[in-house]
Structure formats: C-alpha cells, structure tokens
Amino acid sequence: MEEKEFQISPFLVFFLIHSVQLGVGVFGFQRTIMKSAGNDSWMTVIGAGIAVSMIIWIMYLLLNRHQKDLIGIHRDLFGKWIGGFLSLIWIVYWLLIGIIVLRSYIEIVQVWLFPMINMITFCIILLILVYYCVTGGFRIVTGISFLGVLIPFYIFFTFLFPIEYIHFRNLLPVWNHSVKELTLATKDMLLSYLGFSTLLIYYPYLKHPKKSQKWAHLGNLLTGVIYLFILIISIGFYSENQISRHTWATLSMWKIVELPFVERFEYIGITSWILIILPNICLSVWAATKGVQTIFHIKQKKVVIVSVVILFILLGSTVAIEGRENIENLNKFMSLLGLCLVFMYIPFLTLLSFLLSKIRRGNIGKA
C-alpha cells in the first residue's frame, strides 16, 4: 500500500470508475446494440451493467486478498518474467484505451466541426494538460475525474430537448427478440462499460479499500443509468432503420436542439465533452506510466521521462491512425482485447490466485 499522504478517500472511487467508463462510446453505442436487439436493447444495458458489477466484485476479491496492484499480483503468482510480460499486455491495453478515446474524439471534431483541423497541434495542446495531470500524481488524476464528472453533467439535460419528438410506443412490444439476440447485444454493450479495469492499478492508493467497493458499484450504476437514459430517448426519437444510418446517433440528437443564442448546439456539446474524455486519457496514461514504473523499478525522479515517452507514443499513434476504417479496426481490436482481459482473464486470475494459495498452503502444511 502507498503512503497515507498519497491516498484518496474511498468515495472518490465512484468518480474514478464512472469517469473512465463514460467516454466517446456514448455518441454511437446505440447502433451496434440495436442492430441485434432492436427496441429491447435497453435490457442489454441493464444486463451488461450487472455483468460489469460482478466483475468489479471479483476484482475486489482478488485485490483484497493480495493488498497489491495487478503488477504485484502478477509477480507473486507468475514470477518476475512471465508476470512482467502479462503486466505489459495490460499496459498496452490501458494505453490503447487512451489512444482510442483521443483518436475517436478528434474524429468527431473533424467530422462535425472542423474537417481541416491540424491534429498534431490539437493533440499537443491536450496532451500538455494530460502531462500536467499525470506528473502531478494520482491525486491530481482523481481530481480531474471528479471535475470531469461534475462540471459537464449539465450536458445530459440537453438530451431532454428531443423529448418533444419521442414516440415511447417504439419501446413496445417488450421482449420480441430472442435470448440469443439479446446475449449478442449484451456482449456488444459490455464494450461501452470498459475502462474500469484501471482499478487494478490504483487500488493501493485507496485509503480504506474495503469501504470503497460500494462506491465502485455505485459509479458503475451511474454509468448504466446514463446509458439507459440516452438509449431510451434514442429508441423513441429514431425509428429503427433510421438509427442504423447514424454513425453518432447521440450527437445527431443535438441537431434538433433549438436555442435562441446558438444555431448548432453540437459546437457547445462537443467542446464540453472534452471534459468528459480528459479523465479517460489521464487515467489510462497514468495507469500505463505507473505500470511501467513498477515493472522496471524506475525511480520517482525519472517518472517524468516515462510519462513523456508514453505521451509521445500516444501522440504518434493518434496522428498515425487515419480514416474511419482504421479507427473502426483499432476499436474492434481494443474491444476484443478488453473483453478477453477483463471478462475472461480477471476471473481466471482470481481463481488461480485462490487455487495457488491453497496448494502452497497445503505444501507448507505437509512440510
């Protein structure tokens, strides 16, 4: 566990979990899940939320046993080399989250606001801010998460504008999709909840880790509620064939907003959204930095260099990915990796941890 002065109060886990789950995915998650589950897709949001809560519970089971972060656990269970390698996969995954979030956000800016925008400059300005947060330590990252949830929260009220055009009847008839279709859609929905795995690395920074579990679940609940809210409005607002034509259905809903002082609300919405994605990038970059630092035993003084290197990787790869297709492909790869790591590897690791300790204890008993 870290020293007391670097630790954070347990309730802040609420913001950490929620802020990293909610990112650019909100803009276009409807299309994929409605493709298979149609008007019943709201059930999959609830289903996926429950599944994620279970994974959070399993994570706490694992972390509470070891009282260490994931990298420490890997070292305990698999030794220095294999453990280090497994940790590296996780670091790549966290870094990928950062890249995807940043790149998808820039894509939205390119398509909706400024097609000619200079990506490098935009990235550098944003990453200077990220650099400030990450080198400032975990408490600063937590602070950004806290503000990143509270300040832009007003944005969700703007989704009440479309209510005038809603056909709530579209939700009916309930349950006209097969269990198979719903399961498929739930799998797709799980992707929208990803990112909470950073808990595995900031766990030692929690003051009373056991008390924080309830807050983690609540954070996940808030994410679920927001997804559910936006989905129900989207189902009523669009007809099913219409939503499949919109790449960013949530954003397209803002097109209906009419305010006396602004013609296109998207400009306000998208720029406000930067506060929602900032904690995403900060937390994933921080997790990657922290991971590298622990694996290679890098001294605190040199952490700055690590984070600069990581930020340059982020910048380079973000600028290198061009076009809808490449972004989509990388997104798919990241989703697959995330799905495997979080929903398969974590339960497996927890099981292994229990079994290994049983065996080891057994061995000690015999000796």
Binding site: I117, N118, L172, P173, F237, S239, E240, R245, K255
Partner: protein, 360 residues
Amino acid sequence: MGKLKRMMQILLLSVLLTGCMNIDQRILDDVQLVTGAAYRYVDDDIIELTTVFPNYQPDGSVKNETLTTTAILNKENRDKQSLQSEKPMVSGKLEVALYERETAEKGIVDLLDTLARDPSIGANIYLAILDGNPKVVLSKQYGNMDNGIFLSNLIEQNVETGLIHKTNLHIFKYKLYAEGIDPMLPIIEQKEGKLNIKAIGLFEDDKLVDQIEQEKFFFLTLLLVHKGQKDTYAFKTKEEKKVSIVNIKSVRKYDIPEPMTNAEIKINMDVKAIIREYSDGTLNKQKIKKIENELKDEIEKNSEEIIQQFQEKGIDPLGIGEEVRTRTRKWDQKKWKQLYPDIKITVRAKVKIMETGVIE
C-alpha cells in the same frame, strides 16, 4: 521561480499553438447565409437548385435574392453558385428546403442526402413541396425578409397554431424509415401573388402520391396526434346554421383487439371544443346538443373518408401500422401491406362543447 517560468512557458506554448490549428473562420459578414433551397429535376439526373439568401440593404431592409444553377449533385450546385457570388455560400442557416411537385413525385430520397450528411444543417429545418417553378416563385419577395425565413415562419406559425401537422426534416426521415408509417409534407403554391399552404402531400416511401385539401386539415390533425389541440373547423348544420369551433383538447385512442389480422380497427376520439362563431343568434342547451351531435357525425364521416382514401392508395400517414407493430410480436411489414387496404377501420367520436364564448 524556475517552476513558475516553466509554467509560463507551457502556458505560452498552448496559447501560441492554438494559432496553428488550421481552423476555418467564418465571420458572419463575410459569408452568404443560404436560408432556403429548392430542388427540381430538370432531367433524370440533373438537379436544378435555386437558393435563397438575404441581401441586407443600407436602410435596414432585406432584399430577397436567388441564384439558380444546374448540376449533377447539390454540393456541385453550391460550388457553381459560389462562382456567381461575392461571398462563399454556407448552409448553416438553412431554414427550409422545397421540392418541386414533379420532382417529389419522382422521389426525393436522393435529394435528402445532402441535408442529412451535412453536419452544419439542423434536423429542424422545414421541408415542403412547391407547386410551381421554384425559380419563378422564389425570385419574388413576399415580406420584409428573404423567402427562406418567410417560408419557415409561414410553416412554423401554422404548426404552432395547430392548423397543420408538426413537420420537419427529422420527422420526415423518421417516418420515411419507420415501418408502418408514411411521411407527409405541406404543399405550397403561389396564389394571387401570395404564398399559400394549399394542401398536405402524402407520400408512399419518398414519392408524392396524393394530397389532402385544406378543408380536411382538421380531421387529419385530429387523427394524427394522440393528444391534440388548437385546430379549428367550420361547418354548416342540417338547418343551414353555420358554426365555427376550436378544438381545445382531443384525445385519440386506437382499439386494436386482434393485431396483424384483418379484424376491425377502432379509433376512438374524445373531442372537447369551444364555439367561436355562430350564425344564428343565441345558443341554448338544445342547440348545443344538436351541434355536438352533428359535429360528431361530421368527424366520423370525414375521418373515415380520409382513411378510406389512404387505404385505396395503400399509404399510411396516420401510422396505423406503427400502432399495430407496437401491439404484436408477429409484426411483418410485407404481410401488413397486404392486409392494410382491406381492414375495416371505423372512427367513433365523442364531442363535448365546453364554452360558447363571452356571449350566450
């Protein structure tokens, strides 16, 4: 001190970098804000686009100006128009899009793409059908504003006062892509030098096939919305007395006992109205009772006629299909299209006159 210096450097860097973002500035005075666009197919695949934009005069008045070009696609038309214009044409303030009647009969889905794909165009712009040559109709000035704003105000005002149904690009697209409902758009004509909403055009998919005349707007809006108000109607009773009423609250409910079969569908309407003009002196209880009964018959008769008209054409602007779809798990669009023209649809109305104005 060193830390402060570094902070200042970073801050300066961020500020200076914003200049390198390569963002297009669009200053209001330096662009031509297109407020209206009218589309017409001159050939099978050549589009004639007429755009309307305001020209602000030094004395504060607004002059309506138009540009007309032909090209294979709308955005190319815009480029061609920019070649004729002193300022670049931008579409962010587009308020109304018009389709010439024959074009609408051919189908407008290809022409909608330019509106739907462009992020700068809102979902609440109005669409309408223009009966007449766009170039001729739009080049005339109708108010102290350009015709884009004028048409937008014309439609908006009538939607808000309840004379015509709610309409805009989003609603049109919703109905176009939804299963079990077909879109409608107002038809505008030039009549004695004025613009006039002449009828409501009915679509099958994206093609204009039929229309509802002004006299029947009341029944159409009554049938269309679940909870409606503000629409008006005037009629002659059997005793040649003339009455004008305002609907202050109407509730429309579907009764579909066996969805997806050809069993009868009942539409129940509960209308609460007030009398705003009457041609035969004072009103008393018996007279009101009579008016209520006759209005009830009028609504039932006309509504059923309208529905019959829809069924004959095989179109469903009321969304009866949508009502069926949300009531059954056996929804099948093809099967419904076959069933729909032969289903017996009856309208039952209940009318209550609440008030008769400030005099009896």
